[in-house]
Point group: C2
Chain length 358, copies 2
């Protein structure tokens, strides 16, 4: 069963809840906008479905609703930002803005973030660069669910990478993907449908192959993009590691198996080497390389050529990264967002708790 | 049948051949060193086995042995380098040095390169950053062998990414991988052994699955990391595309299906939109983020923790990216490099042609 809500309804509700936990008006707006961007773009696992999770982190005193987010180290093209345990939904846009400002001055800006929390979808932060004719990059580490090649221990998060690249007449190129074969959200869909996973998505507790979408609950692990060694899982493992090191080690946040978990009921790892969760952001001004109009002309040609590549029988077209999300957003802004009943129930609990009307 | 050669023999031979085609003494040294680094690190497909290929590109007037490599646009943290059709083996170290110099000044340096040729292995260029306590990044586009998800047309090269990250007592972390399920070199090994490929490495001309290691010769294509949509090939396609755009579109080089082929006998694509092949390099000073010693302590902990993660039965240890290559290099420096007879034959032809003793 599903219920349909307008974007505005869910946005206003989320903003009010963030205000109720103590966020400033501006932070509550930012957090709601970032959170809801996931629902708009079709990444249902990272949107309003997580609102109650963020609230529980605040209740567990793991999220600071009134953080003093600040730069603790910088050079003309870099900075480290301390998120002061704030919502990643608020810390990330702050840090991405620092990257953009540095790019304005010296061509590029690169910001590593410590002491943050989950930041929603990576793509929305990378996309902040687009209106400035910049390429945007965003990544984050996350609590360990992924077993590196040959490992039975979970050592890495799903560690997503997003890259947003401006085009001219065409829509921008926006890649945003977990460095695992399949993101957690896709597993949840199979769990609800009681269906098996394809090969290479998960492994059992002992490292043997599995098709059980609930394998994580039984001590198993997600697998890096590639699935197994023969199919290139060492590459997915390398990608996840690079995200972890850029986000966690470069900033002084936690990394590897020490990254704090999102569910507030899971205890924090022992002997944590850093502060909170880490992110990494980049902004590159196009005209720090060549004139933006020449670049955009070439991007239009790139996109057009790929879009019109001959397809395998039965497939309509090669998909340009970001294209399905743009279509999804247009549809959901026009026709509302369908939420599953358990998500609606969750929101109703928040509605009662905080006296905010859904 | 194989023949064993010392590193010095192959290095001196390659250097002399590069001098014979007109390279300056310094460029010939650089080109030989970069070329041979592939053999030392065990990437046999990209080493001295390709020397005759580079010579044929020079004979076809597609490689300029005496390029005037120069910066054509720059900001404090960026540059575009024109390789003047030089050997990528020489253009790449020049461009990476520009990135390093910029990082010294403003924290990071980012260089996109046009008008170049194949640059050997990506890893060796990224590794130039290590001795400066910097993170190094290198990538390149290449002629189209890879079909994006849903496509039967070859639109992308194997487009590798390398990231080199310094550690303290531990060896550095060096990831270097093609954004395909399997690199071309692995297919060549199976071809020689007359063995089938695992699923997800190649597809037939019509886009249907294949296990034929020679499928490319029959109009088929390599597949992006992931193999098919169900196993995340859209992520490999996105990665390959990002490499293509950073290397080709950002620099004004060619991109997508227009990237010039390595084999000199293959005609150049029609209506090429840019100049030569493109690369992209980055250097990030560690202490532009935090003190190098703190970072290295954490990297040592990261590496040690991953190395000692519990393994699947039958596997000795989780492998740290770059570890096998360091072991290979030590072995080959001590015991020489084995070359297959067809490679030796190729070198003997060069030896006669240029009067250089092997």
């Amino acid at each position: 069963m599903e219920q349909n809500f307008s974007y505005d309804t869910l946005y206003n509700f989320s903003r009010s809840v963030f205000e109720k936990i103590g966020c400033t008006e501006k932070d509550a707006e930012t957090a709601a906008k970032v959170l809801l961007s996931a629902d708009l773009r079709g990444v249902d696992s990272h949107g309003v479905a997580r609102l109650s999770g963020y609230v529980r982190l605040w209740e567990a005193k793991r999220v600071n609703a009134t953080p003093i987010i600040r730069i603790i180290h910088e050079t003309p093209s870099t900075a480290v930002v301390d998120g002061d345990s704030g919502l990643g939904l608020v810390v990330a846009p702050f840090a991405m803005q620092v990257a953009i400002d540095k790019a304005k001055n010296v061509g590029t800006g690169w910001v590593s973030v410590q002491n943050s929390n989950h930041f929603g979808i990576a793509g929305i932060h990378a996309m902040m660069a687009l209106e400035h004719d910049m390429i945007g990059i965003a990544m984050t580490n996350a609590s360990a669910l992924v077993a590196p090649t040959f490992s039975i221990e979970k050592m890495l998060g799903t560690n997503p990478i997003a890259v947003a690249i401006p085009a001219g007449k065409e829509q921008p190129f926006v890649a945003d993907f977990a460095t695992t074969t399949a993101a957690n959200g896709k597993l949840e869909i199979l769990q609800r449908k009681n269906k098996p996973t394809p090969a290479g998505w998960v492994q059992k507790k002992d490292g043997s192959p599995s098709n059980n979408a609930s394998e994580l609950k039984e001590g198993g692990a997600l697998l890096p993009l590639g699935g197994d060694k023969e199919h290139g899982s060492h590459k997915g493992y390398m990608l996840g590691s690079i995200v972890d090191i850029f986000s966690g080690v470069l900033s002084g946040a936690n990394y590897g198996p020490w990254v704090p978990p999102f569910p507030a009921y899971i205890p924090m790892p022992e002997n944590m080497p850093g502060k909170g969760i880490g992110h990494f952001f980049g902004a590159m001004r196009i005209d720090a390389f060549r004139t933006a109009s020449d670049f955009k002309d070439n991007m239009d040609q790139w996109i057009h050529r790929f879009k019109t590549a001959k397809t395998v029988q039965g497939e309509e077209a090669v998909i340009i990264p970001g294209e399905p999300e743009i279509a999804m957003e247009a549809d959901r802004r026009a026709h509302g967002i369908n939420l599953l009943q358990p998500v609606v129930d969750d929101l109703n609990v928040l509605s009662e708790k905080f006296g905010v009307i859904l």
